[in-house]
């Protein structure tokens, strides 16, 4: 089917990112669903991707990262995260935080290495000793840990790799937080958890108000001749601020009540108890499953089984709990093929690195003995590159609120009743 006349948009809209990726030497273009080109075109319009899609993608990458200590693969994951974040983040305040996650990641690595250097873990006969720290004598009952001593290259490297893996997980979470609007993510919560989402939203908007209130009162305190520190100042500042906060929350509660918050459907005590039971069971199952899936030692059956059972129980609880809430959602984020593509691209890397088939699983965790340059397993590397497709599959983010559109004109204010005063300037 050829695009209808007068619709040149789709091809133009698709091409730039695709071209950029192709020139970067990566794999095939994003999967095209069996829709018309026209649907594809409208899908490329700037919009915010479903926040859950970003979270699933990031979790999938985190899963992949947790499976490997191959520095090359970890570096690739870092690169993919950085690439996608740069391509698809918005101008919003929360989207400027990726730098801090990177800093935090670096700190994790540094701390890890520092600990390994300070607390000697023993040096094997064939190790390359880098330097030796003076050894601190420890009492006999404390002989398990040695402070100071010789530091080998192998120990430092293993600390760096351990740290890098942890840092990678951290950056995955950071990327999800940067890419997905946290408030929209909360809106996705099922009806039963709606109150939780509201509480977080309110807290997020009240926190800056509280800070502002403290600053205002602290400043005003000087007007009465008081200092800004000390127990007297504490009371003089805390009392007005708390009064303020209390009054504000009462007014907010009144406003929410008057606007229909908390209208509930029918819910019996039995159904409420059942909900709670299902939820607790489900959460336990999820915990077990997560441990089984991510921990390398547990049998795979426990992980998958626990996960599935937990998810089913939770789902049941949410459906049951959501039934008593009658509420609709304004402009819910759609789930279209772009969301599937993003989640899929992440899932590929998680699956390939978890299964360990089609390549040598040992290449994921190269040994430091003997010390050698790690090999790059082809399939996992490609799988991680597939995750980078998310940057192309996701539609470009919409222009942020910081950039007002051209239609933003000041509201015409009604003119004063008397246009000019006769004789006013005499």
């Amino acid at each position: 089917m050829s695009p209808p006349a007068g619709w040149p948009g789709p091809l133009r809209a698709v091409s730039p990112p695709a071209v950029r990726l192709a020139s970067a030497g990566a794999v095939s273009p994003p999967p095209v669903p069996p829709n018309s080109l026209r649907a594809l075109g409208s899908g490329r319009l700037p919009r915010a991707l479903h926040p859950v899609a970003w979270w699933l993608w990031a979790i999938a990458l985190a899963t992949a990262a947790s499976r490997t200590s191959n520095p090359l693969l970890l570096l690739m994951i870092f690169a993919v995260l950085g690439f996608v974040v740069t391509m698809r983040r918005t101008e919003a305040p929360w989207a400027r935080g990726y730098r801090f996650y990177l800093l935090m990641a670096l700190t994790v690595i540094v701390i890890r290495v520092a600990f390994r250097v300070v607390f000697e873990t023993g040096v094997n006969p064939g190790d390359h000793v880098l330097f030796a720290l003076p050894r601190l004598p420890t009492p006999g009952w404390y002989s398990g840990v040695q402070i100071g001593g010789r530091v080998s290259l192998e120990a430092v490297l293993s600390a760096v790799l351990d740290g890098a893996r942890l840092a990678c997980l951290l950056c995955c979470i950071g990327a999800a937080n940067t890419l997905a609007n946290p408030k929209r993510a909360l809106r996705v919560l099922p009806g039963a958890l709606y109150e939780l989402g509201t509480a977080v939203t309110v807290a997020l908007s009240v926190a800056p108000q509280l800070v502002e209130s403290v600053q205002r009162v602290r400043r005003a305190r000087r007007l009465r001749g008081g200092g800004r520190r000390g127990p007297r100042a504490l009371r003089a500042i805390a009392v007005p601020v708390l009064h303020d906060a209390l009054e504000r929350s009462l007014r907010l509660a009144a406003a929410m009540d008057a606007r229909g918050y908390g209208r509930t459907g029918p819910a019996t005590r039995a159904s409420r108890r059942l909900t709670a039971l299902l939820m607790l069971g489900g959460l336990a199952g999820l915990c077990l499953g997560a441990y089984g899936l991510l921990g390398a030692g547990a049998p795979a059956g426990v992980g998958l089984g626990g996960f599935a059972a937990g998810a089913a129980l939770c789902l049941g609880a949410l459906v049951l709990g959501g039934r008593r809430v009658s509420r609709s959602r304004y402009r819910p984020d759609p789930w279209r093929w772009q969301e599937w593509a993003v989640v899929g691209s992440g899932a590929v890397s998680a699956i390939v690195l978890s299964l360990g088939a089609g390549y040598d699983p040992a290449a994921l965790n190269p040994s430091l003995y003997p010390l050698s340059w790690p090999a790059l397993p082809v399939l996992p590397a490609l799988a991680i590159l597939v995750a980078a497709l998310a940057a192309v599959a996701a539609p470009p983010p919409p222009a942020g609120p910081g950039r007002p559109g051209p239609e933003e004109a000041p509201v015409p204010a009604p003119q004063p009743a008397v246009a000019a005063l006769p004789g006013a300037t005499r």
Binding site: K183, T201, V202, L204, S205, P208, Q209, R216, V217, R219, A220, R222, L223, R224, G225, G226, G227, G230, R232, A236, I237, P240, H243, D244, R251, L252, A254, A255, M256, D257, A258, R259, G260, Y261, G262, R263, R327, S328, R329, Y330, R331, P332, G400, P401, P404, E407, E408, A409, V411, A413, P414, P416, V418, A419, L421, P422, G423, A424, T425, R426
Partner: protein, 595 residues
Amino acid sequence: MIRFDRVSVTYDGAASPVLRDVNLDIDEGELCLVIGHTGSGKSTLLGAVNGLVPHFTGGTLAGRVTVDGRDTARFRPRELADVAGGVGQDPQAGFVTDTVEEELAYTMEQLAVDPAAMRTRLEETLDLFGLAGLRQRPLSALSGGQQQRVAIGAALTAHPRVLVLDEPTSALDPASAEDVLAAITRLVHDLGVTVMLAEHRLERVLPYADRAVYLPGDGTVTAGDPATVLARAQPGPPVAELGRLAGWEPLPLSVRDARRRAPALRARLPDPPPVVHHVSRNRPGASPAVDARGIVVRYGSLVAVRGASLALYPGEVTALMGRNGSGKSSLLWAIQGTGQRAAGTVQAGGTQAGGARPEGAQPEGAQPGGPATGGARADPAALAPAAARRLVGLVPQTPADLLYLDTVDAELSQADKDARPEAGTGAGTAADGRPGDAADTRADGAPGDSRPSREILDEIAPGVPPDAHPRDLSAGQQLALVLAIQLTAAPAAILLDEPTRGLDYQAKAGLTAALDRLAGRGHAIAVATHDVEFAARSCDRVVVMAEGEIITDGPAAAVLTASPTFAPQVAKILAPLPYLTVPQIAAALGQVAAR
């Protein structure tokens, strides 16, 4: 649509009911104005309509309130949300979400409105309130007027039959208030919503009102035609007071109405008008109580005050006007020394040693409680807080920020202690006061200068109960309390930041009288205000700021009649005569009659 059937409301622990045997019938599509001063039960009346009284506030409601046939005793506010929407004074306090679009959708989400219908309604509301360009904006980035429009819009998206608005413009500057009131009248006319509105700025909505409800304060309610009700309602807008004074029947409700009747009155009035409030005692060559030069205040890249110079003279009341964000507050705070100041100098304090005091101020200046004299001049920012406040006192925009004790009396005695560090515990001042400050030595030399705060408070606002909790006082009483606390330090200059916010006509008149007396005692006074009528009644001099610069500085009569934006109602009615206030006319008519 709304029916009150023998309704009485008594709050827990209150001796007498707030509303007593109220019978009221409001028809569909009416705009009903609720008039009365603070504490007369306006909010209770309005809260009873959307069920917040008594479900949320507590208290006992006797009788029956029905809205669109639903008895509010049996329906909780949330179950009335689809028939009655409500908006309060402070829109920000009611915001649940953080962007315009989500806020507008919130009520509909709660009512489970179909998503498609929600989308269209929201677009309509955006257009109706002129918010289309702001839809993605965070609510905190909006101006007060825009926020209030969002709040009204959010209540309206649920398509309620009744909208209850409790002083929606009391915290707004005039331009924003106009926006909001225009939106309200549009809504009454285009959508046929029944609106109950409590409002201080009556003049703008009065012409559109179908009915007025007056609460005199004793629990009773008088309802009827606006002109008739207003004739009885004691404090009214200047146009009504002028009409009452001139004996116009029926009372004019708008400037236009009054202006058409004015020619006869204009012919009787002498020109120039008599002076009713105290005369500025400022003489040429007098030295200012505060001399601020080249003040610059900047917050990051934002320049709030751009090289403003302002001198305040003893015995003179100066109004600082200008739109929100024009730098009024920043300038006042910078002068007081607590706010930040990037450049400029401030010299404050009594007149220079040996300098001639303005002659007119001499008798008053000798009174106890006048500003201390004879001290060296100093920059308040360079002094310890306790010393700075003896040079320049400031009453902030939210006076309650300064109150932290449990009773009015405790606050007052704390203020007395703070004002005389050598007599009281003085812990606060001793801890951070630098010994040897010019102002400290001055206070030691002249302790008689500061009067007990109770005396000051009784003079400003008689009858503030001593054992009341400061937070329970009305806005006017709170302001008076804080002003009294600041005056115990006997500052040479006293600055008030937006004192008229949320004050009713009565409280404003009280403040005017208080400022008049303080100026008579020789204090230099500066008031940042949006309120043109208040400035016309209280101030000798008007300074207008825009974008951090002072653009006009001159006598009140000249500045206030020079432009329609700043002209008080009386000036609009009586132009070209330079009358500004109703008391002036009363005095003039008295003179004419005496002749």
